[in-house]
Point group: C2
Chain length 338, copies 2
């Protein structure tokens, strides 16, 4: 089929079709029994059968990876951001106590490079399979002239399930409760615009440079994958009542914790109760950031927060490997950094 005019305008329909058909093995590994049919029609099909749940509630969230993608472009490494996308989504719905069901991805690109596309899909597929989540569908938009060659944006939508009575929404959080922090692996997927400005512009570093205290060159440190907290939290909620959970993303501890605090409950974070990893200390110090800003832009080493009754704290810490980072006290809803 002659493709001359459209291809000259930069869009290769046949290539897109060939890529989709090559997705095979990584995608199949994400399959679940509820998935009907094959990927490739107009919509993905997932049986809405939840026999173990009394009052099943679907939980949905959509997200991107942000300017972390610019680091992937700099390093020409596209095998980690797919997992970032999926894990960010998994963690978002996890905060409500939801288990993932399925995921869909959107890739907006200028010129579609098969190698890059393959790495992205593989990365997403692996993370979905780890989470027990079906990669149900996706869209790859060829938009020549919209994105510079080699660049792309990613968005992912996740749908999960939780029993209505088991939704964890922070409403039972009370003064005296313990805040438990689960460690971050790095910046995760927020704060990259500022981090890149500080490191690559202000400090004039290049991706292969090393900073004291960091195991990897700075580019690879920045690319460390956003982890999934699903395994740790699954283990926990089976054995300990969890009152609230927060995923520490855009807005840091400062903006994310209040989402699970009721009125009259204030989260007091003891900023000395964990060792802020060297990368964050460098960003804060070389960026001239006050604490108020640093803890709103970056996770500062804490990727996920659990709120439990203090009587359950010791058990929760043992099960999750987290650290106690503060307590809930009576006061205006919000976060205080001490």
């Amino acid at each position: 089929m002659p493709q001359k005019a459209y291809a000259r305008a930069g869009v290769d329909i046949d290539l897109a079709n060939r890529l989709k058909s090559r997705l095979g093995a990584p995608l199949r590994a994400t399959r679940r029994p509820e998935v009907l049919g094959a990927v490739g029609g107009f919509g993905g099909l997932f049986r809405a059968s939840f026999p173990g749940l009394r009052d099943p509630v679907l939980v949905a969230s959509i997200d991107g990876v942000g300017t972390k993608l610019k680091v992937a472009f700099m390093l020409d490494r596209h095998d980690t951001v797919g997992a970032d996308l999926v894990n960010h989504c998994v963690n978002d719905i996890l905060t409500l106590g939801a288990e993932p069901l399925f995921f869909l991805d959107y890739i907006g690109a200028g010129k579609l490079e098969p190698r890059v596309f393959g790495a992205l899909i593989k990365g997403m597929s692996r993370a979905c399979a780890s989470a027990g989540c079906a990669l149900l569908g996706g869209e790859t938009a060829q938009m020549p002239g919209f994105y510079p060659p080699g660049e792309y944006d990613l968005a992912g939508c996740i749908v999960g399930i939780v029993d209505r009575k088991k939704i964890i929404d922070g409403s039972s959080v009370r003064p005296g409760d313990t805040l438990i922090g689960l460690p971050a692996s790095g910046l995760h997927t927020n704060g990259y615009s500022l981090a890149r400005r500080i490191l690559f512009e202000d400090m004039g570093l290049r991706p292969r440079d090393r900073l004291p205290g960091l195991r990897l060159p700075i580019g690879l440190e920045l690319l460390r994958t956003h982890p999934s907290y699903l395994p740790a939290v699954r283990r926990l909620v089976r054995r300990v009542p969890v009152k609230g959970m927060a995923h520490i993303t855009g807005g840091g501890l400062v903006d994310n914790l209040p989402r699970v605090l009721p009125d009259g409950a204030r989260a007091i974070i003891d900023t000395k109760s964990w060792r802020v990893p060297p990368l964050f200390r460098t960003l804060r110090d070389r960026g001239g950031l006050g604490d108020a800003e640093a803890y709103q832009v970056f996770n500062m080493g804490i990727g996920f927060v659990l709120i439990v009754d203090s009587r359950h704290a010791k058990r929760a810490l043992a099960i999750t490997g987290g650290r106690p980072i503060g307590t809930v006290e009576r006061g205006p809803k919000g976060v205080a950094l001490v």
Copy 2:
């Protein structure tokens, strides 16, 4: 809260928060009884209760608007592409017989302009409300330096529901069946890279110029909203058995129809059976496109195709206002343009 460093890097967290809280009225209009809680937490909640359905199956799809956005940027008109996004998604799952449940949007932008953001959300909200679909959540990613100022990309994910026994998948399509085309309002959301190349570069037109036969200036003709075929198809499936449906998007009639043809069934399209609208004729002629390419890149005036038994054709045409555009014959699975 001092925002100096992050804001200097181009990201305004407080602005994003203020915008979200201002979404109020348009969003509330999309609410459905199954929606729990308010928009704003980590995930949107939707009760998975489908009492009328025997074996409910969730249908999910994700999509973008493509380079039609470039036309929106040229005209600084952002009040139509939100509906494009939603309707494209609604139509995609409609092909399987699914009714929409909820929708989530992703906006990736450089610098967030409140006016533009407001227009986008309003457009999406209205289209969701029309479709009876809850706008359950969204993500607005501020990515300075990633998108030129004033530009953005959109992705939307829709989840719908269909009873398993009522899934329409084309498996019962047979030689002798009638193809019914529902008219397109314009290019919808595909073929814009080529259309822009032909009109704005090859022909040197500007958005305010007019072409013979077109009611509006060329820019506004290109922005005509992708319609939702949900009302017409809803009316139809209640009264006539529909064997297959195709949404004519990327790949045109040529690539989309085969998705609902079984092996041994060939769609014979009589290209003279409807009047190809003037805009497509201009694009084909001035772009020097052969039919094979034109009908693969553009919808050529047909936005949605229904396949019914020929005995039901007359009734289906009366109910939907469509046109008969061809028949199914025995032959290799595919599409022939005659």
